[in-house]
């Protein structure tokens, strides 16, 4: 156990600090409460900041230079240095989005040379914005049962069906989408992963208002949508494998202890206020007890992530430790939001857009949004299956005979 930087990382940390102090005036204001709630499409300021980070190697730093990245050797400890220094300086880091965080790693792993050249550079620079077409009305946790079909017609596929929970479909130029190309093949073998433009004729987008009051999701309907066969990523009928590699990126992305730490720090500030009885909130022993309980959990997640990063740097394979992050990280954030709301008492129910209370209004939105994240990206119950079956090697639920 040695948490000090080695010389190379110490020097790198200095470089990152210097970059931040020299460029922070260019950083977008208030991206507090994470990139997740960043309004889309991105402002020019956000795009310029992202492009600067890509150019200097502080976002997507391992993307090879021939695809527009910085081309750094993978060094997870340097990635952590970047994340921690940006977090400490309260300066926004490289963007997370489905295109940047899910499609790009997938193309790097499974894409053709042409696909990589065409899309990666433009995606990480926010010139192209993507949405994800995975879930369907009848295929949620059982994603592989998806029915959206792509039938062969010469050099093209003709797509019919619908997708749901497609966040940002209304602002995306491109979609990465799972479709059934081989209806006669088995459940897992007939799926292909396609990428195509959202302005292709035959695509209809209907916004789906969520409980937060924001239309952050959509339903997407495909009627005879013609897409060239060259849109397949990773080979026909290989889409399930490709999608699973993408999902593992999503799971990694959703659990970021710095986000929980950020919430905790904001709650600590709330605790120093006066309660409605005029006494310091800190004198409210039950609230303090809840706060310290969650503080221990946040610390646990932070150190757990450090351990996983350290293991990864040492070349150890991913395992049980990685599988638990989504489940406990999302739950923890939801609990933190709930505590903040309770500390604020009546003011806790105020909703967004009330300038006099500044950030208070965000907590109710986060409380619901984080509940959405407990469900999305593989529900908590699916996560428990993964932990038990893959992490603890417990027997699978018997599956009905597969057609």
């Amino acid at each position: 156990m040695d948490l000090t930087d080695h010389a190379e990382h110490r020097q790198f940390r200095e470089e990152v600090r210097t970059f931040i102090s020299e460029h922070r005036h260019l950083a977008p204001e208030d991206t507090a409460h994470s990139y997740r709630l960043m309004p889309r499409p991105y402002s020019e300021e956000v795009q310029n900041w992202q492009q600067l980070l890509v150019e200097k190697g502080y976002a997507n730093r391992t993307v090879p230079s021939e695809y527009g990245g910085f081309g750094a050797e993978p060094d997870i400890l340097k990635s952590k240095v970047i994340a921690d220094e940006f977090f400490k300086a309260n300066v926004p880091q490289g963007l997370y989005s489905q295109g940047i965080s899910m499609l790009v790693p997938t193309l790097l792993e499974h894409g053709t040379e042409e696909q990589k050249k065409e899309w990666i550079s433009r995606t990480i620079r926010t010139e192209v914005f993507w949405c994800q077409g995975y879930s369907e009305p009848n295929s949620g946790s059982d994603l592989a049962s998806l029915q959206t079909s792509a039938t062969e017609d010469g050099d093209d596929f003709i797509i019919n069906g619908s997708k749901i929970w497609t966040s940002s479909a209304h602002v995306a130029q491109m979609i990465f989408c799972l479709v059934r190309t081989e209806p006669e093949a088995g459940k897992y073998d007939g799926i292909s992963y396609l990428i195509f433009p959202m302005d292709t004729p035959g695509i209809e987008i209907r916004p789906l208002q969520t409980m937060t009051g924001h239309p952050s999701f959509n339903e997407v309907f495909f009627t005879d949508v013609r897409v060239p066969k060259s849109a397949v990523v990773g080979g026909r009928g290989k889409g399930w494998k490709v999608a699973n590699s993408t999902l593992s990126h999503e799971r990694g992305m959703l659990s970021n202890a710095n986000l929980s730490h950020e919430r905790l720090q904001k709650i600590e500030k709330l605790l120093k206020r006066e309660g409605s009885d005029g006494r310091p909130i800190g004198e409210n022993a039950p609230l303090m007890d809840r706060y310290i309980r969650l503080q221990a959990r946040v610390q646990g997640m932070r150190f757990h992530e450090m351990r996983l990063i350290s293991d990864a740097a040492a070349g150890k394979p991913r395992g049980l430790g990685d599988m638990v992050c989504k489940l406990i990280g999302c739950e923890l954030n939801h609990q933190l939001d709930g505590l903040a709301i309770d500390i604020l008492e009546e003011a806790g129910v105020l909703y967004d857009g009330i300038p006099s209370i500044e950030l208070d209004g965000i907590w109710q939105q986060l409380h619901m949004y984080d509940l959405g994240l407990i469900i999305g990206g593989g529900t908590a119950q699916i996560q428990k299956n993964i932990i038990a079956e893959r992490g603890l090697d417990m027997p699978r639920e018997p599956r009905p005979a597969q057609g």
């Binding site: 156990m1 221990a296 351990r307």
Partner: protein, 374 residues
């Protein structure tokens, strides 16, 4: 950055795990638990040969001069096996007390014997942990102690005790001193008896510099060790629950294939994973980040106490009726986890201390316990 065990620490872990697997079994645990023996002396001697008693004692005083992090690794293995031997007091808190507060002469006299496993030193800190109790506290006059101190640790075969008075000053007392009356009390964990101590003008030797300024550090080290022990015990309970759920069949299926059962196991695993890093960090902070040490210890033990209780009941539940039997012996793990939870401050007390330590509890909210434990 390296967050985890070094090569040497993996070797320490392996050697203790191997020895404990070889020498501890349900019979040896029962022999202590049912009172036939006060501790497993053979095991203690073997573990002392591996360096267990002198982990924190410098090499020139016969120990191995290692860190609390190393001691936490050993504690995890002791918890995993429910080793019926003393550890937290005699191998961690007492050596630390002597090292930090003892005079040169006291260090030379006591530490080599502790390191060799020749003597056992118990710790009686109830006044320092809970604050002075009216009419039942330990007071010192002219190096004579009088009063009462309860729930002392590692006292069953102790040759000497380190006792805190109401001022949190520390004293060495021989267990055969005149006027000392020890009443051993059975606890839920039969391998961890507690001792109630009544002192009437007992000759005591104050630790060189009084010890008061180090009391928080000593107690913090003990908390980290108890958390580590509970972590090891909890991991073992989870592992047994998973194994049982894979073997046990009902409705023509392994019960582990039912989500109702496997989700319990997944929840235990998910809760336990971060505990390890939290405890490692607390031990590392004790060794290397003094400004973070106390808070890290409070968070680590209070959280492990809660997760330990959850795992102890849930792993028992996964075993069905068998988990409730004495036959299977799973209850020894359940009981060790429950025992550790209550020692050196339970989770509510530790969280109140953590809030106060961070200046979050308002101006006058500092409890008497807090004042005493600092």
């Amino acid at each position: 950055m390296e967050f985890g065990l070094s090569e040497e620490q993996l070797l320490i872990q392996e050697s203790f795990r191997g020895t404990l697997e070889r020498l501890v079994n349900l019979d040896s645990i029962r022999a202590v638990s049912n009172g036939a023996q006060s501790m497993d002396k053979t095991l203690f001697a073997e573990l002392a040969d591996l360096g267990m008693a002198g982990l924190l004692i410098d090499e020139e005083e016969g120990g191995t001069g290692l860190t609390l992090f190393d001691a936490a690794i050993v504690a995890m293995e002791l918890g995993r096996s429910i080793a019926p031997v003393p550890f937290a007091a005699t191998a961690v808190m007492a050596p630390l007390a002597l090292k930090l507060a003892g005079s040169d002469a006291q260090r030379k006299e006591w530490l080599p014997k502790i390191a060799a496993g020749e003597i056992i030193v118990g710790m009686a800190l109830s006044d320092a942990i809970h604050g002075a109790k009216r009419g039942a506290s330990v007071t010192a006059h002219n190096n004579k102690l009088s009063g009462q101190t309860s729930f002392a640790l590692d006292t069953a075969e102790a040759d000497a005790l380190i006792i805190a008075d109401t001022e949190s000053n520390l004293y060495l007392v021989s267990t055969d001193a005149l006027g000392l009356e020890c009443t051993h009390m059975p606890s839920i964990d039969g391998t961890r008896p507690l001792t109630d101590i009544i002192l009437k003008d007992v000759a005591a030797e104050p630790l060189g510099n009084g010890g008061k300024v180090h009391i928080t550090e000593i107690i913090n080290a003990g908390r980290v060790i108890l958390a580590a022990e509970s972590f090891g015990a909890s991991e073992e309970m989870l592992s047994r629950a998973v194994d049982y759920a894979k073997e046990r069949r009902q409705f023509d299926r392994a019960i582990g294939s039912f989500q109702a059962v496997k989700h319990l196991c997944a929840e235990m695993a998910a809760e336990l994973q971060p505990c390890q890093a939290l405890i490692w960090y607390a031990a590392y902070a004790f060794d290397s980040l003094p400004e973070e040490a106390e808070l890290s210890g409070l968070l680590a033990k209070s959280h492990m106490d809660e997760i330990g209780r959850f795992v102890a009941r849930t792993a028992t539940e996964v075993h069905g009726g068998m988990g409730y039997t004495d036959l299977m012996g799973l209850h020894f793990w359940f009981k060790r986890i429950g025992f550790n939870r209550a020692q050196l401050g339970g989770p509510e007390k530790l969280r109140a201390l953590a809030a106060s330590l961070q200046g979050l509890t308002g101006s006058s909210a500092t409890s008497h316990q807090t004042a005493a434990a600092r």
